[in-house]
Symmetry: C2
Subunit: 349 residues, 2 copies
Amino acid sequence: MATPEPTSLPPTKGRSGAKDVARLAGVSTATVSRVLNRSQQVDPATRERVLEAAAKLRYVPHGAARTLRSHRSKMVGAIVPSFDYALYARTTSALQQRLDERGYALVLAEHHYELAAETRIAGQLVEHGVDAFVLVGLDHEQRLFSLLQDYGRPYVLTWGVDGAQRHPSIGFDNRAATLAVTRHLVGLGHRRIGLLSAPPEGNDRARARGEGLRAGLAEAGLTLDPRHIAYAPISLAAAEAAMQQLLAAPERPTAVVATNDVFAVGAMIACRKTGVRIPQDLSITGVDNTDLGATQTPGLTSVATPITEIGRAAADQLVARLEGLPCETFQAFPVELVHRGSTAPPPSE
Amino acid sequence: MATPEPTSLPPTKGRSGAKDVARLAGVSTATVSRVLNRSQQVDPATRERVLEAAAKLRYVPHGAARTLRSHRSKMVGAIVPSFDYALYARTTSALQQRLDERGYALVLAEHHYELAAETRIAGQLVEHGVDAFVLVGLDHEQRLFSLLQDYGRPYVLTWGVDGAQRHPSIGFDNRAATLAVTRHLVGLGHRRIGLLSAPPEGNDRARARGEGLRAGLAEAGLTLDPRHIAYAPISLAAAEAAMQQLLAAPERPTAVVATNDVFAVGAMIACRKTGVRIPQDLSITGVDNTDLGATQTPGLTSVATPITEIGRAAADQLVARLEGLPCETFQAFPVELVHRGSTAPPPSE
DNA sequence: TTGTAGGCGTTATCAA
DNA sequence: TTGATAACGCCTACAA
């Protein structure tokens, strides 16, 4: 034994198994299993004895053994882009809570906006035997879809709706969100509207939200000036820097549509530092209606998205599919524009 | 078959096992195992063949089987109070990232500030076979500690330091955080300082932070007026309501120490709605130095806490203990006061 | 260096 | 309704 001996995990030290419970209750392990798995085929009296014995021994079933034999781990895997900025936290929270109620545990990981990492992590989750998957967004590597296909277990894409209905999905119309704010801005009289967004590659939400802006502009016979587009990774600092570019652009836009509240608040910070007044000099809008945006001065006009509903619905759908119950595999929830003080008519020239 | 048939999970449908890899590589399953577990005892040529075969068959080991046999699941369980408000998100993120690098998956759950729920969930994590635990805070049910004792695996408490060193812990001095802000406020001339906090029961962080305020006041020969204390659950709305009480209190405080940034921002909102100017009429401070506080107008004076360091250190410690390597089981990181615009001398009477 | 064989703790299939 | 028994897929002695 050369290595420091991996902390020799006591094989099953004091822990008692189904066998112990069976012995104490005077039944076989098969009966113990039946009782604990709520099978109806068991005499109330014996059930009682078994439960007593299990309680007395503080019996905790061995999940791995159960998984190995039954092919169900009672774990659901979720891979989200990031825990930061509370963008996905509320969805994850709702998901976890609902899964917990249904007796499932959540195995959670981040991919930091790298789809290759997402695929790799999905492989690990398969290895850990999760019964189902929750993914964020519609864009994923083909390899990931192949993996899911081979694995043959339920999965659901969230935060977007798959128009072609190729994959079960639960979300909302990201395009509609920015379309709504754009109409609002155009209605206020804005003609030069900029875009502050996450890089669109591999991020369907960012793409759809950008399209919403373009569509809204097109409705009014306007176009998106390429010089009025700035992409940045999702962080306040990066958004602030990107906004500085837009502020320095020729024919500076009178309004900026940010594809989420983090970008929008980063933009507000840039404006504060530059002395650009919101909304008198420039209007700014976000998406997701987070506390971060709502508590700014002035409050951020944003679009409320159904982030907790998505988490709950994802849990419900997956559990239903795992238990062979009927369910909706495609769900879209509405979004709603929330007016606050960050938008106003453009300054008169 | 009466019930809708639990989606008959294909036992091992197409999925290939170690046996398949062994056959294709022309070796035994033992050798496959050795190759995949980086045992040195294997001929480079055979190793190569095995890896090729594994890749060809897209072999993914069956975690449950491995766990059952090896008594190590390569999963770490973490239970945090809540995903909301990004208070614990950054710690969780750092934890997950570091665990992932080390080949461990994170099973994550919330207890919503209910310690009984925490104990229940810990039991589920035991059932799922996690190799180690990360808990937040020092306060936990005795039942939970018993459970951990029985389970006999590593665990670490975070976000606090266990002075008595009864349990491995990684955190910072919560008392010192509010002590620092209190000294700052006292130094500015404040004599009536209020407290806005989470209910202290079962929340050692809140208690320690409250004590920091009391200690800072005591240093200056001052005391905390009971009428200047307000407790609220952790949410912006609740904090706002609690702050309204403080604003309505007799001999209104000239400064309020909030035990975290969420409370502080909730307090700022209350002030805005009431026409109380910050910092001219009232100073406010937070703890945790979140983006939420930093982006307010004026910026929130707060205390930077080592939240990502905690996550990383927790992962490092647990992995080290699991692998029998040496490590620090008690770690304290420093905190740092961050001055922003929400604090100023009290108004002259 | 490699193969053989037994068992980890549970659930499922039978038969009783 | 209950019990005996055989897997589940892998790891790890031990033997070769």
